[in-house]
């Protein structure tokens, strides 16, 4: 028994395909979800036009977090850019550090030492775990299950403790810099990490029982927010969002970077492409990342060089060139397009966050005909972080 809304009042389409919404008719209501709203992910907003309790049009508004990184980086030297890039994505900052460092290394002709690459991979996977844990809490919260986020935030905090002892900071680690990484693993790190991983696994099994095997959650997420397979390319969908629809795309496999070729894993695929499948893909991805962290700690060399020889950072110039570096973050493809012009400053940096396409064009398309109550759930299920949209 599916809900059949009364669509007799719906607006007609105009010749150019847009909707003919006459606010004066009294049939429609404008509803702002965000920026100050509990049902929005971060500081952004969606301007909904509703008819009854169904959305007829949704327009994403971003820019509340715009700091102009791409401009600021143009007036910072290559080393000075390194601390600022992580701010582009708060919940998972490390991909910025990695992509930026890798782009600079490629254009400057530097190769990071192997040991540093192992540590980088470790940090990236830890970051993915964190991001997924945040997602789980958010997804459950968007459907009214507050307790899940209480659990996942706690275990995420344990992971932040590991980050803190490894990198010296909780959120903005500033640890991966062009040329290598800052420091080696602290004494006894692997063991404490193992304890944290066990805690995460046990929490995730609780989450599985209470969220994924929950009639309420299933009822609200199965079959809702389906991304058709033919939308994947048109809207540039990547990451778990694409894999939930059976598109086997994982940058870690397709264009392996760092030490991923030496790790044993397979991209996790789904079929149905709805909110539930995406949530489940992310849960499995999280567990896969837990496994990858274990693999990394088991396989990584005991010790090695941390930094490649880099030019003196005070006068570092990079010859003219351009490149694009991508990595598979928890939300999809994270990329840095870097252009250099032979000076000591980047000519242009463009950050391609996965949320850019997911939260703008895709969300606006998916939100139509959705129940107002499901808007938050859909938005979370696309796993978007506003700061990487507007940078």
């Amino acid at each position: 028994m599916t809900y059949q809304p009364d669509r007799s009042q719906y607006p007609n389409k105009k010749a150019d395909g847009s909707l003919d919404i006459d606010l004066k008719s009294g049939k429609f209501l404008k509803l702002w979800q965000g920026p100050q709203h509990p049902g929005i992910t971060g500081n952004m907003s969606v301007e909904l036009t509703v008819c009854g309790d169904e959305v007829v049009e949704g327009i994403t508004h971003v820019g509340y977090l715009h700091r102009g990184f791409e401009k600021l980086m143009e007036r910072r030297t290559f080393i000075q850019c390194f601390p600022i890039v992580c701010r582009i994505c708060v919940p998972e900052p490390d991909f910025n550090e990695y992509c930026y460092a890798a782009a600079v290394e490629e254009l400057a002709g530097i190769e990071a030492p192997e040991y540093a690459n192992w540590i980088r991979t470790l940090i990236l996977e830890m970051g993915r775990i964190n991001s997924y844990l945040m997602y789980c809490g958010g997804q459950a919260g968007s459907f009214g299950m507050g307790v899940i986020s209480q659990w996942t935030t706690y275990v995420r905090d344990l992971m932040l403790d590991r980050f803190e002892e490894l990198t010296g900071a909780r959120i903005y680690h500033m640890f991966i810099l062009p040329g290598g990484v800052r420091d080696r693993l602290p004494e006894g790190f692997a063991q404490r990490m193992e304890e944290t991983l066990c805690e995460i696994e046990s929490t995730m099994s609780d989450v599985y029982n209470t969220m994924y095997c929950n009639a309420v959650f299933k009822k609200r997420s199965v079959g809702v927010g389906v991304i058709d397979i033919d939308l994947m390319d048109a809207y540039g969908v990547t990451g778990p969002n694409a894999r939930a629809g059976g598109v086997a795309k994982d940058v870690r496999k397709d264009q392996p970077y760092l030490v991923y070729p030496e790790l044993d894993f397979e991209p996790i695929l789904g079929q149905d492409s709805d909110i539930y499948t995406r949530a489940d893909i992310r849960r499995q991805d999280l567990l896969q990342s837990v496994d990858l962290v274990r693999q990394i700690l088991a396989k990584m060399p005991e010790d090695g060089s941390l930094m490649a020889k880099i030019p003196s950072v005070m006068h570092w110039k990079i010859p003219r060139g351009e490149t694009y570096i991508r990595g598979e973050c928890s939300r999809g493809e994270y990329g840095y397009y870097l252009v250099t012009d032979g000076s000591g400053y980047p000519r242009r940096v463009n950050v391609r966050g996965p949320s850019y396409t997911h939260a703008m064009a895709l969300l606006e398309r998916m939100i139509v005909n959705l129940n107002i109550a499901d808007v938050a759930g859909l938005m979370v299920s696309l796993h978007t972080y506003p700061p990487e949209i507007e940078r």
């Binding site: 606010l23 004066k24 008719s25 009294g26 404008k30 920026p35 100050q36 709203h37 509990p38 971060g42 500081n43 820019g63 509340y64 977090l65 715009h66 700091r67 102009g68 401009k71 600021l72 007036r75 601390p83 600022i84 701010r87 708060v90 919940p91 945040m134 809490g137 986020s149 209480q150 935030t153 706690y154 995420r156 905090d157 932040l160 909780r170 959120i171 903005y172 700061p387």
Partner: protein
């Protein structure tokens, strides 16, 4: 002006037509006034004690610092035991935590949210960005000094401050409130013209009344 702010005639479900003028109907034009302290010091102290023990934060993550709010709301740091909790609407909140940098676009929303909060209300600035621009000191889109636009009671150093530092901040704020020094709302009312002038200097498309609550 945006279409939805224009004056218009609306036909209600019962068939009656009525005029809507959003800028007049949805907002109040009265400027804020200074709230005098209670007549007796003992009563005022009692009020302040009560205020200090019920810090209700507006759930508006204006910048990166918002990410450290969630650990505070959850069992590990559990700010609730200190009388701190989060509310979804400004009407129920008395503390606005400005979590870091404010883009001009957000500043506009922050001002609206702040003005909608009930007196007495407090503002805490998180991190370098609220003090002197932080790492966005040369950005064209972020304000540099929060105290030019809102009265700030406390600043917490860090980029971003950890949950423990925030708890320290709440503890200090409580002391401030108890001692009767957290008079931001009154200061805002007193220097209302100055604050408005500063706000309007950076917000170019000011399409709302000066005071909206």
């Amino acid at each position: 002006m945006k279409e939805e702010l224009e004056k218009r005639i609306i036909k209600g479900p019962d068939g009656l037509e009525f005029e809507v003028e959003p800028l007049r109907d949805y907002y109040c034009e009265a400027p804020p006034t200074v709230m005098p302290a209670a007549y007796s010091k003992i009563v005022e102290d009692l009020f302040n004690w009560a205020r200090s023990e019920s810090i209700w934060i507006l759930g508006f993550g204006t910048g990166c610092g918002a990410i450290e709010m969630r650990p505070l709301m959850t069992p590990r740091f559990d700010a609730y035991r200190f009388g701190v909790q989060w509310r979804p609407t400004p009407r129920q909140s008395n503390l606005f935590v400005i979590s870091g940098y404010l883009s001009v676009k957000t500043l506009k929303r922050v001002i609206r949210s702040y003005e909608q909060m009930q007196n007495p209300k407090y503002v805490v600035g998180l991190g370098s960005c609220t003090i002197n621009g932080g790492m966005y000191w040369d950005s064209y889109n972020t304000i540099k000094r929060l105290d030019q636009y809102l009265p700030v009671d406390l600043y917490i150093a860090g980029c971003m401050p950890r949950p423990e530092a925030l708890l320290q901040g709440f503890a200090d704020l409580k002391k401030l409130i108890r001692s009767g020094k957290a008079e931001g709302a009154n200061e805002y009312a007193e220097k209302f013209e100055w604050y408005k002038a500063n706000q309007k200097k950076v917000i170019n498309d000011w399409d709302m009344p000066d005071y909206n609550w």
